[in-house]
């Protein structure tokens, strides 16, 4: 298996796409053959049953997709589905209790931790893994390959934070250009509020558990690096950081975002956009499907735009991880299923991703996904696919520190720190300090509540 290695011998974690394609060389061609694609010969050696755990997004579709894989002469798969809410806790409890799961959905922020705890297997050297990474957006690779070069996961789905805006309201407010930077969003929101067009123009999913994604989205919007390559928190070193928190606090305190956003779920926020109770909604790109399919009076006026101006937005993605099974044949069969589910099928088509695109507008972090005619047909016409593809390619970052083993500890605390800021109980300066302390404590392994 060909690998690009650093001087110390480890696999290069963030090599560019060109290098990957070069390094893959002959195997890239071989990858197009059925032997290396899903449903290949390696699955045939295992005759038992595989166990897969997923969260409850369209469970029937999951089972259908997996059944299609089995029908191609592959092993049967027991698919267990549990709720998304509390999934991480439930999964960890099962694994700690000795449950052997061959393949499971996971949140990207858990992925390195699971490797370190022996709950997940590295995927280094598996047939076609480098080809898969070579086909991936370079921007996405840091989520699946750690700094040491180990391949720790494959994509389940991916998305970018985008601005959903009401075109009609912007026209009524005489706002010529769609806002992009934080300041532009603030100004436009203020204009819409003061103009009496909408009382609380901006909505976002600011519940405690989700504040961490917005932390990165807003920092990236301003071109701020949150963590350096070693995972050290460096956002406090950037003078622009305090300004981000001032903006965040002002949006809430000045009523540009409704008071309820600290507790509203995305379903309600989509509804607010569809009903015309909000003009802006920042969240994953696929929420445009929710807004449009609600068919509210303003649904058809909602469009999507990139955020961050010349800077970046956050690219997120949940992942598939391989359990820690020791049996080689079983692992080979699991890997085969992973390739099918997180990359392409036997015929080189994005069958699984295409299904998720049809179901909810979810994306895959592969450029080829966005040019596949079946995928283009799967997305409703109101999506600007080239824009989303471009955002994946050059307008977004994954923040590799989010997969570090200590990160879930920090992630759990961000909401506790951001909510007091929004409620006016903490200053932006104190918020920066508290976040720095939380990150330092988590990365340093300090035990604290």
């Amino acid at each position: 298996m060909m690998k690009t290695r650093k001087a110390d011998g480890s696999l290069q974690g963030r090599m560019d796409r060109r290098t990957f394609l070069k390094a893959s060389g002959a195997t890239a061609l071989a990858a197009m053959t059925p032997g290396l694609m899903a449903g290949g010969a390696e699955a045939a050696a295992y005759t038992g049953t595989l166990d897969m755990l997923a969260w409850d997004f369209q469970p029937d579709t999951i089972k259908k997709l997996v059944a299609e894989w089995t029908a191609q002469g592959n092993p049967a798969v027991n698919v267990a589905v549990i709720p998304n809410l509390g999934y991480s806790s439930a999964l960890q409890t099962r694994l700690r209790g000795g449950d052997k799961i061959d393949l499971y959905y996971n949140f990207a922020y858990n992925s390195q931790k699971f490797i370190d705890q022996g709950w997940a297997s590295k995927l280094n050297g598996l047939p076609g893994v480098n080809d898969m990474l070579g086909e991936m957006f370079e921007s996405a690779r840091g989520r699946h390959v750690n700094a040491a070069g180990d391949v720790i996961s494959v994509p389940y789905f991916s998305a970018v934070h985008m601005l959903h805006y009401n075109k009609d309201m912007l026209a009524k407010g005489n706002i010529a250009a769609v806002p992009s930077t934080l300041k532009e969003i603030y100004d436009a929101s203020k204009a819409l509020k003061e103009g009496g067009i909408v009382a609380s123009p901006y909505v976002a999913y600011w519940v405690k558990e989700f504040c961490e994604e917005y932390l990165h989205t807003y920092l990236l919007n301003e071109g701020i690096t949150a963590f350096d390559e070693s995972g050290k928190p460096v956002f406090a070193d950037d003078p622009k950081t305090v300004g981000v928190f001032e903006w965040w606090q002002a949006m809430y305190q000045e009523g540009l975002a409704p008071k309820s956003v600290l507790n509203d779920d995305p379903g309600k926020l989509s509804s607010e956009m569809a009903q015309g109770n909000a003009a802006f909604f920042v969240l994953h790109h696929y929420f445009l499907t929710s807004i449009r399919s609600l068919k509210g009076p303003q649904s058809d006026n909602v469009f999507q735009s990139a955020i961050g101006g010349k800077n970046f937005t956050l690219q997120i993605g949940e992942v598939l991880q391989m359990g820690a099974a020791a049996d080689a044949d079983r692992k080979a069969a699991t890997w085969d299923l992973m390739k099918y589910y997180g990359w392409k099928d036997k015929a080189g088509k994005f069958t699984v991703f295409n299904q998720w695109a049809k179901a909810a507008g979810l994306a895959a972090p592969y450029p080829g996904f966005f040019t596949d005619p079946d995928v283009i047909a799967a997305f409703p016409t109101y999506y600007d696919l080239p824009l989303i593809s471009k955002t994946f390619e050059t307008g977004s970052k994954v923040v590799p520190a989010r997969t570090l083993p200590w990160y879930p500890d920090f992630q759990a605390k961000v909401g506790d720190i951001i909510h007091p800021l929004l409620l006016g109980q903490a200053t932006p300066q104190k918020t920066v300090q508290d976040l720095t302390d939380a990150a330092a404590a988590a990365s340093g392994g300090t035990k604290r509540l």
Partner: protein, 301 residues
């Protein structure tokens, strides 16, 4: 009267039978209660790795020291105490009121008694989800009710306001627990002989005096049971709050059970989470014992 010899003989004869009867329950209690309790105490004294592969190094009371010196713990303990006071007081008082009402004779009493069971038959998590929608600031019915009653004039986002989020979660939990208290207390009331009240009425006792000197003392054992259970439910409450606020906004509704959940299952600091669980278990135990003491203090048969 049975002679002591015969009593002992019967006792001996029944001993083995009695032992066999209790074995299944004892095994279940040991497996589901004693073992987890023992393990939690053990974990609280160790730095347990996240994968649970071993106990990890023994750290003595370090986990307890970290917990007790943390302002997050004390803030959460305060929220838990406030929640518990509101929950126990309201669910017991409303349950008692409902029991007294449903003990009266009126048309539709059977239906009303059946309806009392509905909240209790609804899972805590579902209660939380229902109340989250009910208290919603833009589509919830709670605002409509308050406006209709003239209590407020505008819609309010109760769950996003740190001053109102906790009271609303208390109300949601009380809505279910009061029906449980009502059912137990109604059962207690139905054992109260009518003659006692009638005799007191003939002696000139008013409604309030009869309630205070006959009904309440008669209900004391049932009240003690209800109060102790309410205290335990209060300290261990998780589902309703998790569904409604996830502990927010800020830490306004972050009760200790939520903190334990996060520490054990999200952050997977098993030792620290176990120390928190031990502390909460002790607090619930002490709370229950104090409640029993208070309710039986000065009790004259």
């Amino acid at each position: 009267m049975t002679s002591p010899a015969l009593s002992n003989e019967l006792s001996r004869a029944d001993q083995w039978f009695g032992f066999r009867l209790t074995v299944p329950a004892a095994v279940i209690l040991i497996v589901l209660l004693a073992l987890p309790t023992g393990l939690t105490i053990l974990y609280s004294l160790h730095d347990v790795p996240a994968n649970g592969a071993s106990l990890g190094p023994f750290v003595g009371f370090e986990n307890f020291s970290i917990v007790l010196s943390s302002p997050v713990f004390w803030r959460s303990a305060t929220v838990t105490l406030l929640f518990s006071i509101g929950f126990v007081t309201l669910s017991t008082a409303i349950g008692l009121a409902m029991a007294i009402l449903l003990n009266q004779k009126f048309i539709g009493r059977g239906l009303a008694r059946a309806l009392l069971i509905i909240p209790w038959a609804t899972p805590w998590l579902v209660i939380g989800i229902l109340w989250k929608w009910f208290a919603d600031g833009s589509v919830g019915g709670l605002n409509a009710v308050l406006i209709a009653l003239g209590i407020t004039s505008d819609y309010h986002d109760f769950l996003a306001d740190p001053n109102t989020a906790l009271p609303v979660t208390i109300l949601a939990a009380v809505w279910r627990q009061a029906s449980f208290a009502g059912i137990l207390l109604l059962a207690g009331l139905q054992t109260l002989p009518d003659e006692l009240g009638e005799a007191a009425a003939l002696d000139g006792a008013g409604v309030w005096q009869r309630f205070l000197h006959i009904t309440l003392p008669w209900l004391r054992p049932a009240l003690a049971t209800v109060a102790v259970l309410n205290v335990i439910y209060a300290f261990l409450q998780f589902d309703v709050i998790f569904a409604m606020t996830q502990g927010g906004p800020g830490d306004a509704t972050q009760v200790l059970s939520l903190l334990i959940y996060r520490q054990l299952f999200a952050v997977t600091q098993i030792g620290l989470g176990s120390a928190l669980a031990v502390i909460l278990g002790l607090v619930a135990l002490v709370g229950g014992l104090i409640t029993v003491k208070l309710l039986y203090r000065g009790h004259v048969q």
